[in-house]
């Protein structure tokens, strides 16, 4: 991997960034310089450890804090006092206090730029090509869409990053996933990543950093690229990335934290050197053909247990490996489904459009496009990823579209993705969700989750069951 490759050999995007961040090597590990660290309310464990050891934050200006996991998605005009549950309120109060104490830029509950830690940094231009980014959250891979190495870490490692602005890592293997061709009608970036996870499995990327490449990615917006990188962890990968290009540069230009004036020119010249060289080698290569990808839904309790919406719930008896068969059977039982049942016959009780996977402006536009074709027949929530997204959507009139179609328009946060702020499913409730995880109980104890794209989730809201959005759109 990185260090062993002579500098004249063609290098990958990840090699170039990794190598430049090595401070020292110690045995099989290297100490990597961290450009930026992102934390949320859950960093209380990391702050407690810092406190315990009497340490301080080494580079507070390179740490950014976000209130997202615990913030309520209604009643926000009352700020902190609008949170009835004292334990939940306390998590936010503690983050505010810790950020204040250590001089960290906080996107607090009242901040006009508040939002999810994987939505706000790109919006603000804090996420940039060539950086090494660590986040106290497994979906930090989202930022790799800008051509940086971004990965999630636990509390102990985050404490280390905050105390030293560096992290010990061992080399990762490289994997390139190439997606070529035009996506079909009604098929979204979310379908691409669900298809990838279903193809390579929940541990298919373990020990790897994935570079997504190919003509489909090149044509894709930053929003779409972020959706794809976001779920790299669902395939077990440490990180996912896309080489920066004109789309990236255009997105970043003029953002609050993006380089300005001569700084921009210097940055741009550097960013252009980052894409993988012609002939660079990867430890593993996977290829997909975009036109063959259909709108996807998950039927099971891990993100690889998905299929095209036109498919059926699998039969454990068709699975050769005994343990795998048992896993399928247990998922079907938990989900309250029957083998062989058409996915399109699965009725849902709730719909959630939101999360760091799918709560950006394009996601809301795609959902609104479908929502306006009818009325929601089940409870359907739209939770924008940030205040910025929310304002933009309101300027475009999307909130009105949703409201007129019976969807609830809420305040930004993680909400029903992780069910930690009080937004949660009741036991047995079934939800069509644009989030990234369908583990047992992820959206609340006993809750059942089906993952899909924003347009597909909106379609499920109108029909009350999993629905092929292409039929709705064609008719609409």
């Amino acid at each position: 991997m990185p260090q062993s490759i002579p500098t004249c050999a063609p290098r990958t995007l990840v090699d170039k960034i990794w190598t430049r961040h090595v401070v020292v090597q110690d045995g099989a590990e290297v100490l990597l310089y961290v450009d930026r660290a992102f934390i949320h309310e859950g960093a209380s464990h990391a702050f407690d450890k810092l406190e315990e050891e009497g340490r301080s934050v080494a580079r507070p200006r390179q740490v950014f804090a976000f209130t997202d996991h615990y913030v309520p998605t209604i009643g926000r005009d009352r700020g902190l006092s609008g949170i009835a549950n004292a334990d939940i309120r306390n998590m936010i109060v503690r983050l505010h206090a810790n950020a204040d104490k250590h001089g960290i830029r906080l996107f607090g509950i009242d901040d006009p730029h508040q939002g999810i830690l994987h939505i706000v940094p790109p919006e603000q231009g804090i996420t940039q090509p060539g950086l090494m980014i660590c986040g106290a959250d497994s979906h930090t891979a989202t930022h790799g869409a800008f051509g940086c190495i971004a990965f999630g870490i636990g509390a102990s490692e985050m404490m280390h990053v905050m105390a030293t602005q560096a992290i010990w890592q061992r080399p990762q293997k490289s994997m390139r996933i190439t997606i070529d061709g035009e996506l079909g009608f009604g098929v979204a970036p979310k379908d691409v990543i669900l298809a990838i996870v279903a193809l390579i499995g929940v541990d298919g990327g373990t020990g790897h950093i994935i570079e997504y490449a190919g003509s489909t990615l090149r044509r894709m917006s930053m929003e779409g690229r972020m959706t794809i990188c976001n779920m790299s962890i669902e395939a077990g990968a440490r990180a996912g990335m896309v080489a920066p290009d004109e789309t990236t540069f255009e997105y970043l230009h003029g953002r609050a934290y993006a380089p300005k004036a001569s700084g921009w020119d210097a940055a741009l010249a550097f960013w252009k050197t980052l894409p993988s060289d012609e002939g660079a080698r990867y430890d593993r290569e996977v290829a997909l053909s975009a036109p063959e990808i259909a709108p996807m839904v998950t039927w099971g309790t891990n993100p690889a247990q998905g299929a095209p919406v036109t498919g059926v719930v699998p039969d454990p008896r068709d699975v050769a490996d005994a343990i795998a068969a048992q896993e399928v059977a247990s998922a079907i039982e938990y989900q309250g489904l029957a083998p062989g049942m058409a996915l399109g016959d699965i009725r849902v009780d709730r719909v959630f459009i939101g999360s760091c996977t799918n709560s950006r402006i394009e996601d809301l536009r795609a959902a609104a496009e479908v929502a306006k074709l009818g009325k929601a027949v089940v409870s359907a929530w739209v939770v924008p990823g940030s205040q910025h997204v929310k304002r933009q959507a309101e300027q475009e009139g999307l909130d009105a579209v949703f409201r007129n179609s019976g969807f609830e328009w809420r305040e930004p946060g993680c909400s029903l993705c992780t069910a930690i702020n009080g937004d949660q499913l009741r036991p047995g409730e079934r939800c069509a969700s644009t989030s990234n995880r369908n583990f047992k109980g992820r959206q609340g104890p006993g809750g059942r989750t089906h993952l899909m794209s924003p347009a597909m989730a909106a379609a499920a809201a109108l029909k009350g069951r999993l629905t092929d959005v292409r039929e709705l759109l064609r008719r609409g």
Partner: protein, 202 residues
């Protein structure tokens, strides 16, 4: 961090691949400060009813409720980065997990908390779990220095571990002390880096 050298303890088989951190520590417990309360959090929603009474679960039953070792299946600890999943394991009493493979972030979190993850082959793990099912309460011995697992029948299985990680666990060394040894290299690196990428610090 407490050092890890060797243990000989009751081991519990968990016959399920892809156990995610949401099972080990359901999200709503993430906010608990670290402490003994985490013992009940482990597999909480599978072990307890809403009213707090116990469900049928292998970790609730004698002698497995005293286990210090888990023998698991592949991709243990997938999903969320929550370190609270490791706190739950640790407070329950678990000191070692033997599995064919681990999810990345969870693996690191184990090392950082003095909990030893041991990778053995898929068939070996399956055989170990079989022994434990046949003889509930059987003990397994894990010796980090020798890098061996001695199963319930006296069979010896060698495992690999990175020398740096081994040393940290054996000595209970924390990473920050190690990093600070390189403070001068870090400062030289950073000065050069800031110079090269001035736009990041404008």
């Amino acid at each position: 961090m407490n050092p890890f050298a060797r243990i000989s303890a009751i081991a519990v088989p968990i016959d399920e691949p892809n156990v995610d951190t949401n099972q080990l520590c359901p999200t709503r417990f993430n906010k608990l400060p670290r402490g003994p309360a985490y013992a009940r959090v482990l597999f909480h929603d599978r072990r307890f009813n809403a009213d707090g009474s116990e469900k049928e679960h292998i970790l609730n039953a004698e002698p497995f409720n005293r286990a210090q070792i888990i023998v698991a299946d592949r991709n243990w600890g997938s999903g969320s980065s929550r370190e609270s999943a490791v706190y739950a394991l640790y407070e329950f009493g678990i000191r070692c997990i033997i599995a064919p493979s681990f999810a990345d972030i969870h693996l690191n979190n184990c090392y950082k908390n003095g909990l030893l993850p041991v990778v053995l082959g898929e068939a070996e793990c399956e055989a170990l779990r079989g022994q434990l099912r046949d003889r509930p309460g059987a003990t397994i011995a894990v010796d980090l220095d020798a890098q061996t697992v001695t199963d319930a029948r006296g069979g010896i299985h060698r495992f690999d571990i990175d020398p740096v990680r081994k040393k940290c666990l054996l000595e209970g060394l924390d990473d920050i002390a190690r990093t600070l040894q390189y403070q001068r290299a870090f400062e030289a690196f950073e000065a050069d880096y800031r110079n090269e990428r001035a736009w990041l610090y404008a």
